[in-house]
Amino acid sequence: MLAMVLAPFLQGIINRTKAIAAGRVGQPLLQTYYDLSKLLRKGAVYSETTTWIFRGGPVIGLASMICALALLPFGAFPALAPFSGDLVMVAYLLALARFFTVLAALDTGSSFEAMGASREVTFSALAEPALFLGLAALARQTGTLSLTPMLGSVSAVMWMRAAPALSLIVAGLGIVILAENARIPVDDPMTHLELTMIHEVMVLDHSGPDFAMIQYAAALKMWLLGTVIVAIAVPWHSGHLVLDGGFAIAAMVGLAVVTGVIESSMARLQLLRVTQLLIAASVLSGLALALVQR
């Protein structure tokens, strides 16, 4: 619930960080909310070429994110429905959302959107092993297959015992998160050239409420994957529900700032290099597995 309200805020923070780094004042922190509410109040334009797939894409994308959020814990709050193996389910819900976003892009018959779609499936297919190896390392480290106890059991003590493995996991998953959320160095959410984009170009033809759903789903996805990394990187358990929640929110803001700094300090990679980056992520996760000790 909290996530659903706060998620767009993260993008405000990232953008503000980037603005400060670039010496600009930047858009308001709540800009994403303004955008969403404006889009929701607008009508829609559909391409003549499209079918119901095009209209289904944003709906399924957002629905998958909402369902995936229900499986993730936040701070000391457990997930709505934790079960053994829910990490696989979450990863595949993201894949489902991607599947339909890609199809919606192909539905327009536009070469630009198809190009973005092609890149999206390429990079996500390569990111998948890194994600799963990272999760497997974490599962082995914590001895459970459900995200709630898994993320809950990472602690300062565990960091002292298994710092190398955990930091490799964080690094591997960190790359996956940048790739999955279409951030620099994989994709540039700010570019205005269709040819260079991945995620933004796929949704070029969506408008009005459809586009609002897509933007909101993207914000939720950022939040979702951010939660995982924050829970591993900054494990704080005071035992107090509200305190932990507040701390987790602060940590998420921290993550957004870090993302903003990464985006400001480096350029987008050449598309061919992205492949190497993603394979490197798999290698990091694989190494983490080798280092896991119980």
């Binding site: 797939i53 198809a114 497997a136």
Partner: protein
């Protein structure tokens, strides 16, 4: 048992009946289809019952053939493999009745229906047979009848070539099986499966089974016949071959592993390695294909890989004494057999609709078919989501079980033995990602966008008889996705038989997985619910606002044409480039030249690398060396008599010495 015998009789009568009334218009079709339908309805009831825990039934009769006996047995494993055979064959027969109708003016339909009935009957006997001779006989009948079905359009050179490759590959596989059964039979003095007991040399027997059955199943590098035979065959035949016939290879492998008893650890390693390579290379080759049915054929290789991964993980779990890993691995693998039968059958039938309606299978010539063929498009989409292993459909459930098995293995195992588990996890993830890429390509380019050729422009929806079978399969995919827990729980007897673990242990492990799968299904249901709410919300929001249609945003370009759309090859290009060392794609580029270039073209082709670089040179070498024997064959009778005499003399000498 009697119901199954009636089913067999019905197939045979249907087949022969089709030949008898060969010249009577639609009669052969009606008789053939009726034979299949009646047989399948009779057969499915006992098959389902035995899987659900009814006691096995058997039938044993003497037979004049040396070492042979008519020994049939219906146990849970046989029943489980029979279910998809009956489901798929009956639906494919209904579909084929309409599909083949277009050929009637040119060709007699009696042979295809005769061989179709024969194929169904032989598959049933293969799965039921418990005698080596009977098994091999049925196995051979299955190969031959499907060969004649593949070469239905034998006026085409490519079809004859495909049939030839299939025939050769099949028989090489059978040769290994022959050796396997002779070894087993010789050691035990009988060819009946229940007399087989082995203590030594199981490794060799396992390898023989792996090669022999692997050829039928399509393990890489023995898969070369699949991408040739599946596209050449009529679509309902490709559906049956890909969905159920290649599974008899998996069935045989599991059956032999059960006969061989306690597995060695290296079997698991080998199965995992085969699974990984088949899965990965299969999906990559699929990604590089331009022919819709060839693409689907390579996906069969991929899915057989996933099935082998499950078997491998299960075997390792069994070996390591981890019942949970063993049970989940085998259960996932077996469930994937059923699931793959459903969605691959569905996809081949839908692809058949496309080919039927547009007269082309070239993906890059299609486009925009969802508007012209809404029903076929919808079922293809369901198949595409299912085969990509995405929730909430059935493909996810079986892959989830295999994930669960290998994750559990990762938690418990230590040292080197953890490696295959991790390889399975990473491999499944990569295969899943690539399969999604491949099916967004297949569905997106074929059914979405604008038509890329006149073929696609003139497409129209096909008749009801060709859509309904696909719908039934689509519903089955959805149901298994939503009722996955029930399905998994009901597999207890079956998995207990295969793993040799006691039923309570199996039941416990399955119940644990089923608990997770219940939540998977709930999440799937929630997904559908949330999506419906969102769609409703949007509909209400847009109801009194301006909603209009316009052309697709072309970045300001004024004259877009359908030919400028992205093609399937360009969509797959980043991935095929990355894995080019495995694919060896050929590129033919005629670059435009000068100020006003007249011509320019670019074509890529990805022939099967194993066919190109392993088997073709090998068979060339064999046929070249065999030419050396040519002088022996002079065509003079006297010379041949001399050969006979010399041979006899030599044999006599050998006997004396």
């Amino acid at each position: 048992m009697s119901a199954l015998l009636i089913a067999l009789l019905s197939f045979v009568v249907g087949g022969i009946g089709a030949v008898i009334c060969a010249n009577r218009g639609r009669w052969p079709t009606m008789v053939g289809v009726a034979g299949v339908l009646i047989g399948c309805v009779c057969g499915i009831v006992p098959a389902v019952r035995v899987v659900l825990g009814k006691p096995p039934q058997s039938l044993r009769m003497a037979w004049d053939v040396p070492y042979g006996s008519l020994f049939l047995n219906l146990d849970p494993l046989s029943g489980f493999f029979l279910i998809p055979v009956f489901v798929l064959c009956s639906l494919a027969a209904v579909y084929g009745a309409d599909y083949l109708e277009a050929y009637r003016p040119k060709k007699s339909l009696a042979p295809p229906w005769f061989f179709f009935n024969l194929l169904v009957a032989s598959m049933v006997v293969v799965i039921l047979a418990r005698n080596g001779v009977l098994f091999l006989l049925a196995w051979e009948m299955m190969a031959l009848s499907s060969f004649f079905l593949v070469t239905f359009e034998d006026e085409k050179e490519s079809t004859r070539q495909a049939g030839w490759i299939y025939l050769v590959a099949s028989h090489i596989g059978t040769a290994f099986l022959l050796v396997l059964f002779i070894l087993l039979g010789k050691a035990n003095g009988s060819f009946d499966f229940d007399r087989f007991s082995t203590s030594s040399g199981t490794g060799l027997l396992f390898v023989l089974a792996l090669v022999g059955f692997g050829t039928k199943a399509g393990f890489i590098p023995l898969h070369v016949w699949l991408p040739e035979a599946h596209p050449a065959a009529p679509s309902h035949v490709s559906a049956v071959m890909s969905a159920v016939m290649i599974k008899t290879g998996i069935y045989g492998l599991i059956r032999v592993m059960m006969i061989l008893g306690a597995p060695h650890a290296w079997w698991g390693w080998v199965l995992c390695a085969i699974g990984l390579s088949s899965g990965l290379i299969g999906v990559l080759l699929a990604l590089a294909q331009h022919d819709l049915k060839r693409l689907l054929a390579y996906h069969s290789v991929e899915n057989i890989g996933i099935i082998a991964l499950g078997l491998g993980v299960g075997t390792l779990g069994l070996r390591a004494g981890l019942p949970v890993v063993a049970v989940l691995g085998f259960a996932g693998s077996l469930l994937h057999v059923l699931n793959h039968a459903l969605f691959k059958g569905l996809l081949f039938l839908a692809a058949g609709n496309v080919a039927h309606s547009t007269h082309t299978r070239e993906i890059d010539h299609l486009g925009g078919l969802l508007r012209r063929m809404p029903l076929s498009g919808a079922i293809f989409l369901i198949g595409a989501v299912a085969i990509s292993g995405l929730p909430p459909l059935n493909g996810f459930i079986s892959e989830f079980l295999i994930y669960l098995a290998s994750f559990k293995g990762t938690l418990i195992l230590d040292g080197v033995s953890i490696a295959p588990m991790l390889a399975t996890i990473a491999g499944l993830a990569l295969i899943g990602g690539l399969a999604a890429a491949c099916f967004t390509k297949a569905f997106g380019i074929v059914f979405l966008g604008q038509p890329r050729s006149e073929h696609a422009e003139r497409a129209h929806e096909v008749g009801l008889a060709m859509v309904l079978p696909g719908f039934v399969l689509a519903i089955a995919c959805v149901l298994i996705g939503l009722l996955g827990a029930n399905v998994v729980n009901s597999m207890a007897t079956l998995v207990s038989e295969v793993t040799g673990l006691s039923v309570p242990i199996v039941r416990m492990s399955l119940a644990e997985a089923a608990h997770s799968i219940t939540f998977v299904s709930y999440t799937g249901g929630a997904l559908v619910g949330v999506a419906t709410l969102l769609a409703l919300g949007r509909a209400i929001a847009l109801s009194n606002r301006s909603v209009y249609t316009d052309v697709t945003w072309g970045c300001g370009y004024a004259e877009p044409s359908p030919r400028m759309q992205y093609t399937a090859s360009s969509f797959a290009q980043p991935l095929t480039d990355i894995f080019d060392s495995l694919l060896q794609t050929r590129r033919v580029l005629i670059a435009p030249n000068g100020l006003f270039p007249k011509e320019g073209s670019f074509a890529t082709e990805t022939p099967d690398p194993y066919q190109e670089y392993v088997f073709r040179p090998l068979f060339h070498a064999i046929s070249r060396d065999l030419l050396l024997l040519r002088p022996l064959q002079q065509g003079q009778v006297q010379l041949y008599i001399l050969y006979i005499a010399v041979t006899l003399l030599l044999l006599l000498l050998w006997q004396l010495a």
